[in-house]
Structures are given as C-alpha cells and as structure tokens.
Symmetry: C2
Subunit: 869 residues, 2 copies
Amino acid sequence: MTSAAGAVSSSLWHKLIPVQIYGANTGSGKTVVSTILGTAFKSKFPYWRINYLKPVSTGPEIEADHSYVHRYTGITTKCLFEFKLPVSPHIAARDCFNIPPTDQEVLHEVSAALLEYSQAVPKEPRRYGVVLIETAGGVLSPGPFGTLQADLYRPLRLPVVLVGDHRLGGIAATISAYESLTLRGYDVEAILLFESGQLGNADYLTKYFRFRKVPVFELPKFPDSGDRSEVRLNLLHYYETVSQSDSISRLIIHLVSRQSRRIKDIEGMASRADSAIWHPFTQHKDRDKSSILTFDSAYGDFFQAYSPAKWKAPTHLELSLGGEDMKTRKVAISAVPTPVLEPTFDGSASWWTQGLGHGNPDLSLAAAYAAGRYGHVMFAGAVHQPALSLAERLLLGFKNPRLKKVFFSDNGSTGIEVGIKMALKASSVRYGWESSSTDIGIIGLKGSYHGDTIGAMDASEPSVYNKKVEWYRGRGYWFDYPQVKMRKGNWYVEPPAGMEAEFGPAQYYHSLDAVFDLKSRNASKYEQYIEGMLNWLIKFKGKKFGALVMEPVLLGAGGMIFVDPLFQRALVDVVRKSKLFAPPASSITSASSTADGSSLEWSGLPVVFDEVFTGLYRLGRFSSASFLQVHPDITVNAKLLTGGLLPLCTTIASQSIFDAFLSDDKTDALLHGHSYTAHAMGCHVANVSLEKMQEMERRNAWAKFIMRWRTMHATVVYPKFPWSMWSQKTVKLISQVSNVDSVITLGSVLAITLRDESGAGYTSNAANELRDKLLEGSQTYGWSVHSRVLGNILYLMTSLTTDRDTLLQLEEFLLRSVVEVHRESLSPKEVARRLFRKQRRLENKQKAKEAKRIAEERKRTTDEEEADG
Amino acid sequence: MTSAAGAVSSSLWHKLIPVQIYGANTGSGKTVVSTILGTAFKSKFPYWRINYLKPVSTGPEIEADHSYVHRYTGITTKCLFEFKLPVSPHIAARDCFNIPPTDQEVLHEVSAALLEYSQAVPKEPRRYGVVLIETAGGVLSPGPFGTLQADLYRPLRLPVVLVGDHRLGGIAATISAYESLTLRGYDVEAILLFESGQLGNADYLTKYFRFRKVPVFELPKFPDSGDRSEVRLNLLHYYETVSQSDSISRLIIHLVSRQSRRIKDIEGMASRADSAIWHPFTQHKDRDKSSILTFDSAYGDFFQAYSPAKWKAPTHLELSLGGEDMKTRKVAISAVPTPVLEPTFDGSASWWTQGLGHGNPDLSLAAAYAAGRYGHVMFAGAVHQPALSLAERLLLGFKNPRLKKVFFSDNGSTGIEVGIKMALKASSVRYGWESSSTDIGIIGLKGSYHGDTIGAMDASEPSVYNKKVEWYRGRGYWFDYPQVKMRKGNWYVEPPAGMEAEFGPAQYYHSLDAVFDLKSRNASKYEQYIEGMLNWLIKFKGKKFGALVMEPVLLGAGGMIFVDPLFQRALVDVVRKSKLFAPPASSITSASSTADGSSLEWSGLPVVFDEVFTGLYRLGRFSSASFLQVHPDITVNAKLLTGGLLPLCTTIASQSIFDAFLSDDKTDALLHGHSYTAHAMGCHVANVSLEKMQEMERRNAWAKFIMRWRTMHATVVYPKFPWSMWSQKTVKLISQVSNVDSVITLGSVLAITLRDESGAGYTSNAANELRDKLLEGSQTYGWSVHSRVLGNILYLMTSLTTDRDTLLQLEEFLLRSVVEVHRESLSPKEVARRLFRKQRRLENKQKAKEAKRIAEERKRTTDEEEADG
C-alpha cells in the first residue's frame, strides 16, 4: 500500500546529508557541479559514504548524467527513471510508457532511496553519508507526470544547491529560479556558477545574495572540449583542481554545517519555545517542554514534525508489520535509523482553518501578488479590487437575499463583536433603548463559543472558558436543546438529560438525511417551549434582548455539539414571529422585499449566524445556514475564508441592519475598524481560495465521499443531502466500540465522545489516551496523527483536498486506535475480525480502482485543474 | 526638481495603450514580438498612433532593437538610453558613464515619454495610441544602475506581455519569469512564444496558464537566416503573415479590451463599493460615493489612486507653474489629457501601519516563502521557526529585563485584551479577588484608545468612540495630564484648562530634548496629585484597580495627544511604589532580579504599555517605553510589527505575570488563542521587517533627519535625543500660521491642531478643508496627499523609508496648503516671503548635495543594503 499524498517519509536524518541540485536553467551545469561536489566530498572525507542520485533522466543512456558522474568521481550513482528521448521528462515519459510514473511513485522511489542511503551510513561517529540529488532541466521543468519539478519534490523539502546561469541573461534566470524555489518554501543553501567573464554575473549575484544570506560560489570556466583524446584528461584535471579549491572546500563545510545546524535548531526549539513563548489555551504548569512539537514545515495535510518526547537516538526499529499479513514496503528494511522529522497528519486542520493544503503554491503566489501590488492599503474611505471582489463573491455565494453589506475585520472573535454591535444597535434604534444605559442581552445556545475577546465571550454563557476571566459578564440567555448523535451505528436526536418532558424522548432516525428533513418533522413542541421561555424571561424577569446569536448546526469549541437543526430553525422562527418583540409600528421603515414577496427587513430580533467554524465548506456547503433553510440578517465568516493561510474575517449584514447606523451624527456610525481592515493579501488569497473551493463544488470533486452517504430513503436528490468526508461505515464502527459514547460527523468534521465516568466536559482527560495513541503514529504507514481534544471529545478534521487514500488509511488507523484504547467488552478477537474484514474490503476495492485512479490522476495533473495538486 | 521616488506620473490614460514586453530569458525574441505587434496594430488600426519605446539599449547602434523595429514596421521608435557594449545594462552603463543614470532618471524619462505619447493620441473617438515598451534581457536583468529591471519599472506597473522561452528548459524559464513578475504585483496579460516542435513548450504552457487565466499565444518559427539577400524579404514575409494571423489578431483585441476593461473597472469601483461594502469608521449617510478613492496599486509611499470626485474627462490642463519661477518639467507640456490614476502620498501610513513601503519585493517574497514552507500551522502545543525567532528577536530588542514571554494574537485590539486579561489575573491572584464577581478597573489616561473590541473599549473612558456602543462600560479611572505642544515655534508643557493649581502653569522648553530630560525635571507635583487621586478613589470611593494601561508618549486615536512624558513616568512610579496596592506579604513569590539588583517582579499594579501605535520605530525608537525610561510588565505591539503588510500582534509579559496563570487546574490557564495564532506568514514577514528596521538603525539611516533636531543644549549625545522625520523648521513655520492652534511631532508623526471656534474633538470638521486641499494635490509635483483627520486635528505620517526629496516636497506642499486655508492674519505677502525664502534655501541645499546623493544612491543600489530599495 502506498503512502498518502504528502505523507512521504522524512528526508532528514542525523547522519545523512542530502543536497538537491537544481539548475537556474537547462545547461547551467548541474552535472558538472555534481561531479565537482562528489569529487570534493570524496577527497575531503574519504571515510564517508558519498552517493549520487538522478531521479529522472532523459536522453540516451550513454550520455546519462549518472554515468558521467560515476566516470569522473567513482562514487556510487543511481538513476530511478530513465527515458531515452532527449526532451523534457513529461514528453519523454509519455513516449516510453502508456501511463508514465505518477508523482507519488517518483517521490516514493526517491524517498526509499534516501532511506536506503541513510541505513548505509558508516556507524562510526563523525562519519556521514552524503547524497547529491540532481534534478532535470530548470527549477520548474515538468517531471514525468507533468507536475513542475519543484512542486513534485516539495514534500521532501531537501536543502538546495542552485546552479546559477553564467551566460548572458543569467542574472535574471538565477534570481527568478531562486524566487520560484523560495515561494515554494525551499531553503536555497548555496548558489554556484561558472565564471562569466565580462558579464559579471557572479559579481552581481554575490552582492545580491549577500543580503539574502545565500553564499554564492564562482567556479572556474569549464574547459573547452579540445582534442578528443585530451578531453578526459582535461576534465579529470579540471575536477581535480576545482574540487580542491578553497571555494569548494568552503562550500562543502558550509553544507555540512548547515545540516548539523538545522538539526540542532530543530532539536533545541521546543526548549527555546518553552522559555520564550506563552502558548494559547495552555496550562503551562502541567506541560512538559518535551511535549512541544516542532513543525519544520508542512505540505498538503501533513506537518513535518519533530517531537522531543518521541524522538529516540538512532536505533534499530522493526518496520515489518507483525503477523497481520500486510504488504511491506518495496524496500526491505530490517534496521532503520530514526529520521528526525515525521510526517504528521494535521488532524485539527490547524484549528479548523485548513482548506486547500499547507504549502499550496497557488496561494503563496496569490499572497505575494497582493503584497507586491498593494502591500496593505488604507481601507477607510477607499477600496481596492481584492476587497471589492471578495465582498461581491461572498454576497453572491451566500444566496441569501438579505445580505447586502460586507464589513471586514481580522478574526472570528472581532467579526462576532462587529456582528453583535450591528445587531444591538439595530434593536436599540428600533425599540428606542438608550444605548449604554440599558442592559441588553443576546439569545443563544448553551455551549456556544464565539471567540476570546470580551464582547465575544460575553455572548456565551458562563463556562470553563470564561469563568475565570475578570471582565467576563455573560449577557443573555442560552437555551437548552436536543442534540444529534450517532450511538451504536444509529442516528438519534436526544433531549438533554431530564428534559424529556419539554422536548420529548430520544428519537431514532434512519439516516442523517432524515434528521435534516425539516419539512417532515414537527417543530411545534420546540416552538412552544421557546415561546414559553422567552415569555417568562421578558415578561416576568424583565430581560431585554437585542439579538439571536448562534453557530448553525455544529457548536465547535463547545465540544463539537451537533444541535438538532429543527431546534435552531424553530428558534429563528419564533424570534422572528413572536409578538414579544413587536416594535411600535411607526418605527419600522418601509420593508424591501424579495421577488417572492418575503420581507428582507429583520423582524423580532436580528439573527446573527456565527459561521466562523461551520461556513465555507467546513460542513460541505458554502453556507451552513442552508442546513437550517434560514436566511440570517448577519453572518460572520473567518477560518476557511483564506483557505487556511492567514487571518481575515467578514461580517455581512442586511440593508435594514446597515440603515440603523445612518444618521446626521457621525458618531452614530459603526466606529469600528482595525488597522489592517480588508488587507489586500488576505482578500486576494480569499478570492483565490474561494474560487478553488467553489470550483471543486461545481465539478463535483467530493463525489466519491458524497456517494457513500446516499441513502435509500433520501428525500432530496444528489448531492443535496448532508454528507461527510468520513465514510459512514467507519463512523458506525467507531460508534460501536464500547468506550465510545457517541460520534458525530458532517462535512470534514468527525468527533468522538468518549465515556468518562468521572464526568465529561472540557476538564476531562478521557480523550487524551486516544490523542496520544494517534500521535504515537502508525508504523504501517510511517506517519502519525496530530489531533486536539475538547475534554472527553476527540475530533478530527480533514482539509477539502484530503485524498481518499490518505483518508482510508487514516480511518483504519483511527479505528484501530479507538479499539486499542477501549477498556471493556468487544473481545480483541471480535475487534480484529471486524477490522480485518473491513480492511480486506478496502484493499480489494482499492486494487480494483487503482488503474482508474491512475488514469484519473493523469488527467488531473495534465489538466492542472485541481486545487490539491 | 525631480519628483519623489515612487511618485512617478500615472501610466494609465484613457486613450493610450501601453504594453511592456518582458522576456522570459535573453534571446527569447522580444524584438521580434515587438515587430509583430507593431505590424499587427498598424495594419489592424491604420488610424491609430503606434509607438515603440526601448528605454535602455546595449550593443552597437546598427544592431539596436529600435532601429530593427522601425525598419520592419515603419512605426516611430525611440530609445532613451543607449550603451555600446553588448552586455547587461549595469555593466554597459558603467563603462560609458562616470555615474550611470539613476533609476529615477530612467523612470522619469519613460514617464515623460508616455506622457508625450498620451498627448499625441488622435483626438477622434475610437482612435487610440499604443506604445510597445521593450525591456532588456530577462525579467530580472539589472537596469543601468543595477536595480532589477522588474523592480526599476514597478512604479509604472504597466500591463505585461511576456515572451516565453521556446527552447529546451523554456517551460521552467517562462513560469519562473511569470512568478517573478507576479510577486512584484504585475499583471501578465498574455504570454507569447515561438513554436518549439517536439519540446511541446507552448502546449504545456497553454494548459498551465489556462487555469491562471493568462492566454498563451504560439508564434510560427522564426525563419532561418538563409541567403543574405533573401533575409529581408523572408523577414518581411514572416512579419506580414504572422501579424495577420488569427492568433495575433486575437491577441491585439485582447490587449485593447483588457485596457478598456481595466479602466472601466477602476471607474466603476467606487460605486460598486458603495453598494457592497460597509466601511470602517464611516458615517455612510453623509458620504457621497464619489468620495471613495480607488487604489489601483501602491508603491513606496504612494498609492496609485482614482478619485471619481476629482477625475474629469480629458481636458486641457495648464501644467506650468504660474509666476512662481519654478522649474518646469523637462518635457514642455501645454495641454495634457488627465491620467486616470494619480500618485497619492499615503499620509496616514495606511492607518499607521507602513514602515518599509508598499509593494516591497523582499516582504512579498518573505510572505510567499512562509506560505510555501508552512501555510498556517497549528500553534497550540507547537512551535515553528518564524514564531520562535520573532519572539526571541522582540525579547532582545526591547532591552527590558522584565519581559520574558511572548503571546501572539491578530491585532492591537486583541493584543490589548490579552494584556488586560494577563494583568487583571495577576492582580486578582495576588490580591485574592474573586475573578468575575469583583468589579476591577484599570488606571489610564483621558483620551486613550486601545481598540475596537469590547474589552479594549472598556479600557478607555467614555468618549465619542464608544458612548453609543451598547455593550461598552468604561471600567476604570482615567487621569488628566499636561500635554506637550508646539505653539508659535516654541515647545510648551501645558496643564489641561483649569488645572493649573494641580499641575502648575504652562512651561516653556527650549527644545523637545529638554522636555524629555526627565532627570532634570521635578515630578513631585505630579506624584502628589496622582497619589492623592488614587487614595481618594481607593480609600474613599472603594474602587479596585487591576492594571495601569497606557500608550507611551503619544495617544493616537485620542487625537495624537503628546502626553508630558514626566507625567507618565510619575504615574508608573507612584503605581509601583504606592502603599495603596501593598499586597499581603505572603502572596509575593520570591522575586527574580536583574544584575543591578532591581526586582523584575511587578509591584503595585502590572504596568501595561500599549505600543501598538508608538512602538517599533514609529516614534524613531524600537520601543517607545524608552522615552519614559520605564520597563513595563506587559507590552503590546502590532501595526509596524510586520512592516505594514499584514495583521499580527504580540503581547509580551514578565515572568511574574506569567506565573500567575500556573496552577494544577487547566482552566486557570490563559484560555485565549485565535485560529491563526502566530501564523507563519506574519511571523516571518515580521522577522524580515524588523531586521530591516533594526539594520537601518544600526547603520544610522535616519542620520539626515536626526541631525536637524540636534540642539545646542542637548543633554544626551547623538542620536539619543528625540527627533522627527519632519524638519524642525517646517514644524515651526506651520505652528506660526494663525489658524493653527498647535503642532506636535516625534519620529514619523506630525499632527496639526487647527482652531475650531465651534469646539474641538472628533466631531469637529475644522481639519477637513486642509485634508481636502492636500488631496486635491500639487500641480507642481504632480501628486497629491491622502491624509486622515481626527476632528480638528490633521496628522501625517511617513514610513521609515520615505526619502528626503519626497519629504522636502511634502513639507513645502503642506506648508503652502496650511497657509492657503488659514483664515486671518499673516498677510499673503508675508506668507509668500517666508515660503519662498525657505524654498530657495531648500533648493540650494539640494543642488549642493545632489552629486553626493547620487554617489550615495549608487552605492546603495549596488550594495543592495537598503530596505527602501
């Protein structure tokens, strides 16, 4: 079984020094440089193991680079994929094979070769292995499958030696190549180039890169061919001389010391972080500093992580897979030195932000473009194209005729404060309250969480998150409500304990689809309860409310609570219709209305949806409001807004909310605005990200996931039913493990509530064992899973581009881990039986579809259509 | 007088279509493409005016590109700078001249040529001018002065046609060149390249760029030279055929329609923004939508702005400068069609954020690198190198031995909330208060502003900014204090009206330096007042205070109030020493201490400095706390932290604050953390920015500004005294205009308080006339100034890289504008006398230093040392 995309093995070992040689241009001399480096390493460190690897070669074998390097250096050389045609690999490969090797195949072959080299390193101290990896063509030449080379190899993120171009135009070519590597997150460790005489390339580049801290090394001119018989002698002499030169000696030492410095840095970071950094949401007293993970980089769904707690000195690790009859790696491995970094699945989607994968080069370039075109430009009284396009795109995307005006801020918390300010002002104006002398609360749901700033905190009921914050004052009333849960493979809507009288008993539903079939369900019990409670609060307790604020469908930080959508729908309906909020007739301005005659004016109370977590495809849809079939008056979005790259938030309001701020007095305006309001970089990245996500929806990119959630009883047609990236089967299996209380899933989210006899909630540690198990990792796949827990709840979240292979493996690993930490019932035998039946099924399926997948991937790569490439 | 750096004339006219032709590589065929385009435009639009411009040419004249293009197209061609040596312009220019033409000279020649072309456009409707501007070498080949060509021409941001490379390796070269242009904010409108046979470059690039929305056009192979007599005929035939081809026809139409689309977009944006966007701090009722500025791009200190209110249809504008005997432009201009965009000085430093200039390519690349390497990665329980480096850099930079722990958030407002949470918790723990049941306030200063979220608002006293916000409750006490002001050329420290008894009468100071000489000044009056007031509040009113929160030296949004530093110092001293806050002895943990024995433990109350606006060189120093010679326990930084590119904030605390959160209960932790906490992009850009700013300080980059503030009585040695980017002379002159109440300046900030008989404050409109005058612009320099007002106060702010020429012009324009809007006294004659005396002096100085400046700039550019390149 091949590893998942992005989940390549680490490429960093203590004793192996890899150097990837990229050329600023074809013909800039990569092979000559490899030969020089090979000779130099060999002569300087005769007891080291020096290797040369050419992953992909084109052209006749006799002229192949690895043969040449071997001829002049004597070091062991290897080529992984050879194509005879002397053209770019993507042409040559198509000429040779029906299906050229995929990126994953190339990557894994390189990865396996590196692993092999790392094992062959001399055991003695101070003896190292070196591997020179020569790429083909220029930095961005296409690989065999058509992916740009620098993208293809990016998951390995090897240290780069860039061979600059010494010819006319070479300054431009070298700097551009450097920029292309840099914006993909590579570290260029050195630039080498040949003497260029009066062109002065090396002089210029040396100065240019001095201030970018990249050393430039000039090489003597490569000898002219001369008389054929002398060629070899000339060359031998050249390599001999150059490799012994001061300049190359310095380079060699530089490369070796950079590697050791890099590892030392990585190993020291947890401890330095422990000293300099105050981590968010962290009790530092408990915290062992060795538990701090160091992320060296990230790509796709995976971090490259160093964990001081996990890492052990190089030792013999058994990588074969016990008696479970699973395939082993292609490379037979008996003893492996531990790599420094481990691919680790980003199971919290980096606090629910990730949509299009880490290190996405399109988003990097988009960010750079906006920075280059604008930097940040003033937004008060002004506009720029990225902000305007984003506003228009969102207004269109929400398909909510109420929403008209987009306000920008920096994160979910600030955006919620803006939404609350908007709503309370609208209510105050309509109901004639004195702004700051009346205690106005909001209506919400128990377990809500809207952010960390005081105004956002005040919108949640007292809880562990806020009870110790000096300035927190919960302002409002928060309703109880029934929840959706899967228990033992079945979906239920359950009332809170002791509230069966109000909400009725737990109801079984044959599918998630049926839970969301709001038209077929009866809301009258809910509506009566809500109306009654509001009546009591307003009439008898004298409370004033200015807004209804809630997260549609899923309450995130509150514990991934899946609220019965019918209850939320009923709450909105009651608040909008109830006579409790009826205004003096005169104060309502003439209502605008939609084509179907429904009013766009807010009524009762402004309805604010906090879609920071749930919006923009986190739950599989552009807007999570659509699950409730409700049009809020105000909606707040952040997190996925920029595809997971940088902070940005929008609060979008209806015209009637906006109008409440219009006045002849300038202090009646919404006097809110952060310095970086609508920063061009965030807005442009958001446009590019949303376009990619919307495009994925249009071309049905999640069809494979969606289809697995189709039910016989579906009341809506494909793909309108609720679905999840996680397979229904896995979710059901997990819910059947005995220490699992319940499971929920929707879109990319999966949350497992574990039983905790000592009480649930944020302070519970019940999920920690499972979290630790996942972080320990799977030897089968060679990667681990980083996840977050909320008390007794462990949740996992994919990005929108997580591929099915990764997910298959992840589900299997998760299921296995859940079972391993389970405490009673379900005999190990039974567990194994279920698991392996499932696994065999998955394997068979996968085999059958492998050819199809490759064909599809080929199409995908060549078409360049995908966001997850 | 040449225009300021970045302030080049606009390059966008209704009827002139400029196309800048860049090559992916030397020899990719730019000149052939120019010839094809010239021929095609000419034959398709015989009544248009088609021009060709080669700004910089190297090599023998006979082979020059413009001669060639003229020979084969017959269109008018021009070359601005010709060098004989056939090498890169930076080498060729050095060979020809003692001092090669500077970037500004090249830019202004191109600009002037464009202006000339724009005037020569046929007057008839539907007849346009076209100018093809061919660059030299590759995209990043150095210009004559050594600056990379794409950086050199960036202020013009002309639409680009990129000539791709059709040779082996050309895919890589073309995409890299595209990326280098894109990260500098260029729009690549089309890519052209020659047939490349089996290499398949055009096929690949067409697909690759389809999803980036850049059309790719393939050109037939360029004919082989063949027999000499046939060359010309062959070529004529080639150009004839190719320029008539479908592909080139489509390209021509594409370029024309892109230009008209671009202008239409720009013209329509204010109106679309009015419809879709809710602007920050804006009363929309008053607002005429034509007042919304559209920023098409920005570079250095200048926006390229379109103002619907200002823009008039092309007409005859007099550009000569009246009778004031000033130099006119090199190009004689009598009538000019109005350009669509106008360079506009970013006078609010885009809400106080800008440090290193808009569109800084180093920051763009830094942002892209972090995005490419990490994207955003989870920060709870983890660390990455950019965040750690930034934390360590800040801890080092503040030179405050108390500060030990760095907490990250997204903006000043959230960072202040974090700081307040930290401080209040520390006080609650020490003084044994029940967290949320005690009303704990903060001590601050009247006129403070700490942000827009509720917690940050609550830290300010009731004011226009918050009085209408429903959830605002000012929590604390805010002191009155004396202010520093310049009146009629002299510095004073003035008590608030009616408080002479408490603070003594207004004091004259011979220099700003003397105001800051805290050791020589007597604080006892202040200390008595503060102690008395606190005693009354605590003992008699029963108030509880948990923190002292203030902006050191300058209160920004409160109206650029320059607080007497001695008062702030006294406030800290009293709060730290007063027995009013003495804790139960047992609750203080053993205090750590510095080498000199002073305690690092907080005492009295935690001191929180809001340096969001004042820190990181805004006032000329890394930390504005150093003006008070005080070490706060908590400090908050944002705005300039990323050099002005994207939102990021740090709240840095002492160990003793941090320790207050340590407990066996996880809910005692600081439960705060935004999704994008310590996002890699922000942290890395901050590292690069701070390094540049610190480097500027080390190499004394502001020496010219600083020297002008040296006084005879200086009590501290250069450059320790307070200084400003704004010249002392100008500041004094402005303060002498009769409708100016007072002026303050420090670092990059200048604020002018205008008299308003109907009352001062945020609701005043007194400064609007001056603001409008500045925005109207200077015909002398061809640019205008965007500024912000706070009621009757107009402020201006430079970046840290604003050059002296720009500032000279800006100061003159400002002074002239202040005088023009003044209402009484100071006869126009007197004003003119002063102004022109000043101006002559400035001009003479400038002439004398011109040679020196050029020599320095040469050094600067070649050394690539500067942040402001």
